[in-house]
Each structure stands twice: as structure tokens, then as C-alpha cells.
Amino acid sequence: MVTSVTNFSRSGLSDWVLQRVSAVILATYAIFIVGYLLCTPELTFGQWKELFSMTSVRIYTLLAVLALVAHAWVGLWTIATDYIKPALIRFLFNAAVIGTLFVLVVWSIEILWGL
């Protein structure tokens, strides 16, 4: 039996659910942002700033970023597990993914709430 000590939740079923829930969150966020941009073709800084000064939009954006992190980790972990045989290279790949996703979260929080 394959021991799955490195997947997101140590359970394939929770990973499966997480992947679907995060997918739906990301899909609705994509529709929201693309819809907004399509509805305001002549976007000004004031309108854009106002949109992202709303707490609900900030929280929704952060939720989408966290969903992206979970979604990307489950997806890339699966790819690495399936296709990268050498343990060291797989470990380095997974570590690089985690590092990148962590930076993504910190940077997003800074953009949304910083200064």
C-alpha cells in the first residue's frame, strides 16, 4: 500500500472534496472578476480602488487565493507523485511548490491589506 504522508490532508477523500470545493470557489471568483472587467471597459483607478476597498471583495479575494493554494497543491502533488520517480527531485519539486504558494499568500495579504 502506498502511504500518503505528504498529501494535503493525509486522506485521498478529503483531498478530493477539497479539490472540488476550491474549484467552485475559483470558478465563481473568475466569473466575478472577468464579469466586472467586461462591464467596465473604461476602468479608472478610482473605481478599481473602490472595488478593492470593500471588505467583502478583499475577503473574497483572499478566499480565492487560499482556494488556489489548496487547488494547486493537491494538483501539483498528484502530478509529482505520478510522474517524478526519484524521491529527492520529487521532494525538491514539492518544496518549491510550497515555497511559491507561501509567497503567494503573504504577497496577496500585503496587496489587499498592506499600507
Binding site: R20, A23, A27, A30, F45, W48, F52, L68, W107, I111
Partner: protein
């Protein structure tokens, strides 16, 4: 994602950087990168919805899967073309 976050950062940091970004987005290279990102996301979006539909038991047969895959490819192509129209 790095490009997307960098753009979001610039767009919200100040009016100056917002206009700078707007200017930068006029260049063919920036447009091509934007189109590439939108294409990848758009295709992933369409294929993901097909995946969710299959989870729900729709298109699980061999024939159904074939039809669903063709629909996914066609819709994915359409999204990519529309994304190009939007960017240019």
C-alpha cells in the same frame, strides 16, 4: 500567477502605478502574456467544469465521454479565441 499578482499590486498601489500598468498593457508582449494566461485559465475552467459534471455522473459512458471531450475542446478553443479578441 506572479504576473497576475504583480499586476494587481501595481493596479492598487497608486494611481501612478495604475496608469503605468495601463500603459504597459498596450505593448504586444504584455498583451501576448495576458492572452496566454487567460487562455490557460479559460481552458482549465472549461475542462474543470467537464470534470465536475462527470463527478455528477454526466457523460460517464465511453460515447458520452467522447462527446464531452469534443465539446470541451471546442468550448476551450472558443474561450481562447474570445480571450484574444478581448485583449486586442
Amino acid at each position: 500567477m506572479i504576473f497576475v499578482l504583480a499586476a494587481l499590486d501595481m493596479s492598487l498601489a497608486s494611481e501612478e502605478s495604475f496608469n503605468q500598468l495601463k500603459e504597459c498593457m498596450q505593448s504586444p508582449v504584455a498583451k501576448f502574456i495576458t492572452w496566454g494566461i487567460l487562455s490557460a485559465l479559460g481552458y482549465h475552467f472549461v475542462a474543470g467544469i467537464k470534470h465536475l459534471l462527470m463527478d455528477a455522473g454526466i457523460g460517464e459512458t465511453l460515447e458520452g465521454g467522447r462527446v464531452a471531450s469534443i465539446i470541451t475542446l471546442v468550448l476551450g478553443g472558443l474561450v481562447i479565441v474570445l480571450a484574444g479578441v478581448w485583449v486586442w
